[in-house]
């Protein structure tokens, strides 16, 4: 049983002063906590003095109470101020100790990559979709009828022999020129979708068909036996070659920037008449802006419309087609077709998710 304390104003004032001094010298919140226990805890002079007030004569109680209030407040203020200081210091130390090199390489879930050819085909699709056109696609192993005959390449047409076609074995029949074959090829052009789409959807028709085509060229720096084209076809009343030029210019801008434009040169394709080669004004051409071959185009030949059962006196149309590879090679300064074809991940990863 502790001895009943006697209120000693001077002693308690000194004790508190001593406590405050210790607070001010405290170097950690832990030390501060200990000081608080020592000078304001249950056994402290301050607590004992407060308890001793009860034993004082009534006339002294008030002053003693006042004194104790002041001492407590002084002590509390000092403690609070120092605690804030120390906590800030300690937090700063802790944060400093947690500092890392944020430039360390972090690849926890690395992205793979889209193939730039696949992405650029999506760009083409988006261009046509934005104009309200549809995207269609036909089979890669195709009948000769859709790849050639329906497009006004008759069985004896010189252009048919110029296409370096992959022929397919299979159930044998005679072709229209009397040669034995399956009447089936790996399509040589996405134009094979023209009559398919006309038959499937009817007119008016506004479609684009990006896809794979095949020619018997060995792979080298500029050729590949498997490549990609995008065909576009519009058939409606009142379409003219002026509309063709308008769409081509817009497409050039979409693919090659605001300064790109197109130019037509007379040419020949069995499925268009008039026909034109399509040149692109390419502002970023190596060695200075200039014209580059980009594709072929023209007004749909009446025989193609007839293949789809349409009246060429009522309907006109235009069509164009470009090589997707060529678009990419130009745009990204790719010098060797091998890079586009081989599937080396280092090539595709340069483009990541875009192209």
């Amino acid at each position: 049983m502790a001895q009943q304390a006697v209120f000693d104003a001077q002693a308690v004032t000194e004790a508190v002063a001593e406590g405050i001094a210790r607070i001010e010298n405290a170097s950690s919140t832990e030390e501060l906590k200990a000081i608080k226990t020592q000078y304001a805890g249950a056994d402290s002079a301050m607590t004992q003095a407060s308890k001793a007030i009860g034993a004082l004569p009534a006339d002294q109680k008030k002053d003693a109470g006042k004194l104790m209030g002041k001492l407590r407040a002084d002590f509390g203020r000092a403690f609070g101020a120092r605690e804030t200081e120390l906590k800030a210091q300690e937090e700063a130390r802790a944060l400093a100790s947690e500092t890392v090199d944020m430039t360390l390489p972090i690849r926890r879930k690395p992205l793979g990559a889209r193939h730039p050819l696949a992405k650029v085909m999506e760009d083409w699709e988006d261009f046509f979709i934005s104009m309200g056109w549809r995207i269609s696609s036909g089979p890669e192993v195709e009948t000769e009828w859709f790849d050639f005959d329906a497009l006004n390449f008759g069985p004896d047409h010189p252009a048919r022999q110029m296409q370096d076609t992959f022929y397919v074995k299979g159930s044998q029949a005679r072709d229209a020129a009397g040669f034995v074959g399956s009447n089936m090829v790996l399509r040589t052009q996405t134009s094979s979708d023209q009559v398919r789409a006309l038959l499937e959807y009817g007119v008016p028709l506004y479609i684009a068909s990006p896809g794979r085509v095949f020619r018997t060229d060995e792979l080298d720096a500029t050729h590949t036996p498997v490549f990609h084209q995008c065909e576009a076809l519009a058939v409606d009343k009142h379409l003219t070659m002026a509309d063709l030029k308008g769409v081509l210019d817009k497409l050039a801008v979409a693919m090659f920037g605001p300064e790109a434009k197109t130019r037509l040169r007379p040419s020949y394709f069995p499925f268009t008449e008039p026909s034109a080669e399509l040149d692109l004004w390419f502002p970023d051409k190596k060695g200075g802006a200039g014209w580059l071959e980009w594709g072929g185009c023209g007004m749909v030949n009446p025989n193609v419309l007839k293949s789809a059962g349409l009246d060429p006196d009522v309907y006109t149309g235009f069509a164009f087609g470009m090589g997707i590879e060529r678009t990419l090679l130009l745009r990204h300064d790719i010098n060797d077709m091998h890079d586009l074809v081989e599937g080396d991940v280092r090539f595709s990863k340069q483009f990541v998710m875009g192209e």
């Binding site: 972090i106 690849r107 926890r108 992205l111 793979g112 990559a113 699709e125 309200g132 549809r134 995207i135 089979p139 890669e140 192993v141 000769e144 009828w145 005959d149 004896d156 010189p158 992959f166 022929y167 397919v168 074995k169 299979g170 159930s171 044998q172 029949a173 229209a176 020129a177 009397g178 399956s182 009447n183 790996l186 038959l199 008016p204 506004y206 060995e218 498997v226 519009a234 409606d236 003219t240 070659m241 002026a242 509309d243 030029k245 308008g246 040169r265 007379p266 040419s267 020949y268 008449e273 007004m299 030949n301 025989n303 007839k306 293949s307 006109t316 599937g343 080396d344 991940v345 998710m353």
Partner: protein
């Protein structure tokens, strides 16, 4: 494709003196004759005229005799002697025709000849030879290497020859400094396979004055018609086509003209040889060179026969079954009944001897030789299709067949023969017959009914009617009518490609200029669906998802062969039976098309690994091709006519199914965080994750079904493969490749893969909008449940059972621990789940959760699962 020589072009059209080949190419491309290449000169100088001052024969030990010569090459190039005087160069020359007094061509040190042959002073036969006297072959002017060029023999007039001075530039003299323009001729422009045609196009492009050479020649041609009946012509000719193709006779005009008393020793003039050689045509003999020259100049393929070897009549007929012909190139051809032949009639046997495959190549018999004194010139017009088929059938495309299959002028034959006759007589003497044979059955062409409004309707060009008339007249059309802007147009005989109004529209548009066509943009179509289809969008989602998952997209060739079948442990015979086979494959070892993507994708993974790359994980979206051996044959149908619905169905019925697949191969480390230190090799779970991501992205709810090891195909690890199901439909496979497959491909062990049939998967998706479930705000009840189950019970089966038993209150279930071992006993495994229950309408009490828990335990017990304490 043809070469254009400005020097030759000048014969028919006025060209500016300073016309460059670059400008010529620009002019021609404007009207549709595209530049293939401008061939630069193969020779650099100095190459000069030299005068042989002396030539001293010096016999050598090796039996040869060389000439030690002094050649005056002019002040600029002559040598300087010890007294500082200019003196002729010393040159060693081994040519037998070298002699003093000749003017020769001297290539001086610094000159470079074809084949990168550099001329330098060199010590030879005891002299310093300070240049070289050149032969034709050395300069790329021809095949002749019998001796050096003697300019005396080079076709100059005496005055021109006299004017040649030592030191004159021989490069220019011999056209050695001239480039050449090679152009592409589109198949509709057969007439442009001639200088006559190219000159006309140059005129169209530039407006330069053009004179059709045929007009003058026609004026000089002897009349073949209107002769006294019974006037004997050069030879009787009979066209007897009993098997026309598409009803078109193989030959509708045969013109023959004799040249008698020809000097077989006559030589081709040098200017002609130079032009032929520059056109890429070998010089053979005057008679042959002249026919080739006329073909290049006018576009009429011709043939020259030794008339004394022929016995009339000439019969143009189809081959009979079993007939053979040895062509000029020495090849023996078995003829088809579709081949059109030129025959003669020895011993009165009509048409019994074959002297040529019409329009393609002559036969060995009947050809002009070094003894031929009497020549019969053939200029005929053959059917395009017949010639194209024969050339294709016998794989003997020739300069003649290239022109015939594109269409030759039907009225050119007399003029061509006239031109050839004039050249033969001028350079080889003789006399041309005044009674040529002309069997002319050329049908009258149909005039084209042409509305001038077609130009605007198709091209948008607002072209004046008079301008339209002028253009059509300028390209050679006969223009009649004109009331109401409607015309009757007779196309020129050299334009078989002009048959329809649209053909005339093109002519007008290209000559007005495509640049003049206005630019408009058609309004967006108002009918039909808008935007990508669901499946097009889904394809993109799958592609993006896999790239985001860390795989790299590849686009591989779809060709496969034995090597791939072996690596992938396919039964080659079995798979070939159901694979599409290419008739003319590029690489003989990969003649088939893939039935799945993995074998072709594997080759690309392999390429990356071989290049030293690690952690290669690739995917591809593309088509596969499923051949049905029972597929019906595909009919041949004509173009320009809509097939019936039955015919269209027959076209598609014969095609293989070509579904779209996605496949992925994962190798190396699935996790590889570098200095962070986390690393984990790929295994089956990474492939399953890819499939799950696709499933989640598409909202497809794909499930896996693991077959018994014995039922796993040989490509896959027997214990690590599952079929992927959309509902009840199998849409793919996933797992680890069989160790043998990984080994054969050089992949790390446990490399994993998947392949899904996207066509089938997309078809299995329902397109209904997702129906949202209400979100409960009541508190959850969470429990952990660990079961011991027999190994044969799959996680999927147990989870399904738990879900079923828990019913609607199950908010989530997560498998957080899987283990096997002594603790759980032989043939057993432990599966521990964290489950969360939550009701939509109330707080679940302890009674509720106890009920649910019991239901789960009972249901799991049916599978042999015991709740672990």
């Amino acid at each position: 494709m043809p070469m254009v020589d400005i020097d030759w072009l000048k014969d028919h059209v006025e060209v500016p003196e300073d016309l460059t080949y670059e400008q010529l190419a620009r002019d021609l491309v404007k009207v549709g004759l595209e530049e293939e290449e401008i061939h630069a000169s193969q020779v650099t100088g100095p190459i000069v005229v030299g005068y042989v001052v002396d030539a001293t024969p010096e016999p050598q030990k090796n039996g040869k005799t060389i000439n030690w010569c002094h050649v005056d090459v002019g002040d600029e190039y002559n040598e300087v002697d010890e007294n500082g005087n200019k003196v002729p160069r010393g040159i060693v020359c081994g040519a037998p025709n070298m002699k003093a007094g000749e003017k020769v061509v001297v290539t001086l040190p610094g000159a470079v000849l074809p084949g990168d042959f550099r001329i330098e002073p060199r010590k030879t036969y005891g002299h310093i030879s300070n240049g070289m006297c050149a032969s034709e072959r050395e300069l790329g002017l021809g095949d002749s290497h019998d001796g050096i060029i003697l300019l005396r023999e080079y076709g100059f007039t005496p005055a021109e020859y006299e004017a040649l001075k030592p030191g004159d530039d021989a490069m220019h003299l011999l056209h050695l400094d001239q480039p050449l323009l090679e152009i592409n001729i589109t198949p509709d422009r057969g007439y442009a396979l001639s200088y006559r045609g190219v000159a006309r196009e140059y005129h169209h492009s530039t407006g330069a004055a053009y004179v059709d050479p045929v007009s003058a020649l026609d004026g000089k041609t002897p009349l073949a018609e209107g002769l006294e009946p019974g006037t004997p012509t050069d030879i009787e000719v009979s066209i007897e086509d009993d098997n026309p193709i598409h009803g078109v006779p193989g030959c509708d005009r045969y013109y023959a003209r004799a040249i008698r008393g020809f000097d077989p020793s006559a030589k081709t003039p040098n200017w002609m040889r130079r032009r032929l050689i520059r056109a890429g045509v070998r010089s053979i003999s005057l008679a042959v060179d002249v026919t080739n020259y006329v073909m290049l100049d006018l576009g009429q393929p011709m043939h020259a026969y030794d008339m004394d070897k022929l016995e009339g009549p000439i019969v143009v007929r189809r081959a009979r079954e079993g007939e053979h012909l040895v062509t000029l190139d020495g090849k023996d051809h078995e003829l088809s009944v579709e081949d059109l032949l030129i025959t003669d009639s020895p011993n009165g046997e009509r048409g019994s001897r074959i002297i040529g495959l019409a329009g393609v190549m002559g036969g060995l018999y009947g050809e002009v030789t070094a003894e031929t004194k009497n020549i019969l010139l053939e200029a005929a017009h053959f059917d395009q299709v017949s010639i194209a088929r024969s050339a294709r059938r016998h794989k003997t495309p020739s300069e003649a067949s290239r022109r015939f299959e594109r269409g030759v002028d039907t009225q050119l034959q007399p003029a061509a023969a006239q031109m050839a006759a004039e050249l033969l007589i001028r350079y080889g003497n003789g006399e041309a017959s005044e009674h040529p044979t002309d069997v002319n059955n050329v049908p009258r062409r149909r005039a084209i009914h042409f509305k001038s409004t077609e130009v605007a309707r198709v091209t948008g060009l607002d072209t004046d009617v008079n301008r339209i008339c002028d253009i059509l007249t300028d390209i050679g059309c006969g223009v009649a009518g004109g009331g109401n802007g409607e015309f009757s147009i007779m196309p020129p005989s050299w334009r078989p490609d002009l048959n329809e109004p649209c053909d005339l529209v093109e002519e007008i548009a290209r000559l007005v200029g495509y640049d003049e066509i206005p630019v408009t943009v058609p309004p967006a179509p108002v009918e039909g669906e808008v935007g990508l289809t669901d499946d097009q969008r889904r394809k993109r989602q799958v592609a993006d998802e896999l790239a985001e998952y860390g795989l790299v997209e590849a686009l591989t060739y779809p060709f496969v062969g034995d090597e791939d079948y072996r690596a992938f442990a396919y039964d080659a015979d079995e798979i070939k039976r159901v694979s599409v086979e290419i008739a003319n494959p590029l690489a003989g070892d990969r003649p088939f098309l893939r039935r799945d993507i993995l074998p072709t994708l594997a080759q690309t993974v392999r390429l990356n690994l071989r290049r030293g790359l690690e952690n290669v994980s690739l995917y591809e979206i593309g088509h596969v091709y499923l051949w049905d051996p029972q597929a019906p044959a595909i009919p041949a149908l004509p173009g320009g006519v809509r097939p019936t619905d039955e015919q269209l169905a027959a076209l598609d019925a014969g095609l293989p199914a070509q579904p779209m697949h996605v496949a992925g191969i994962l190798t190396g480390n699935a996790v590889e965080t570098g200095w962070l230190g986390e690393r984990r090799a790929v295994d089956w779970s990474d492939a399953v994750e890819a499939v799950r991501r696709i499933s989640d992205r598409l909202g497809a709810d794909l499930t896996l079904d693991q077959p018994a090891p014995d039922d796993v195909p040989a490509q896959w690890h027997p214990g690590r493969m599952a079929r992927v199901l959309a509902g009840q439909t199998v849409v793919g496979v996933v797992g680890e490749l069989h160790p043998h497959v990984n080994e054969a491909l050089g992949f790390p062990a446990h490399s994993a893969a998947f392949e899904l049939d996207l066509t089938a998967l997309f078809a299995a998706l329902d397109n209904a909008p997702i129906q949202a479930r209400p979100i409960s705000t009541f508190p959850p009840v969470k429990q952990d449940l660990a079961f011991t189950v027999p190994q044969s019970v799959t996680a999927a089966a147990l989870e399904d059972a738990i879900r079923e038993a828990a019913g609607e209150v199950l908010e989530s279930i997560e498998l957080f621990d899987v283990f096997t071992g002594d603790q759980v006993g032989e043939g057993m495994k432990s599966l521990a789940y964290a489950v969360t229950f939550r009701a939509v309408d109330r707080t679940l009490g302890s009674e509720d959760s106890e009920t649910i828990r019991k239901a789960i335990i009972d249901r799991a017990a049916e599978l042999g699962a015991q709740l672990r304490a």
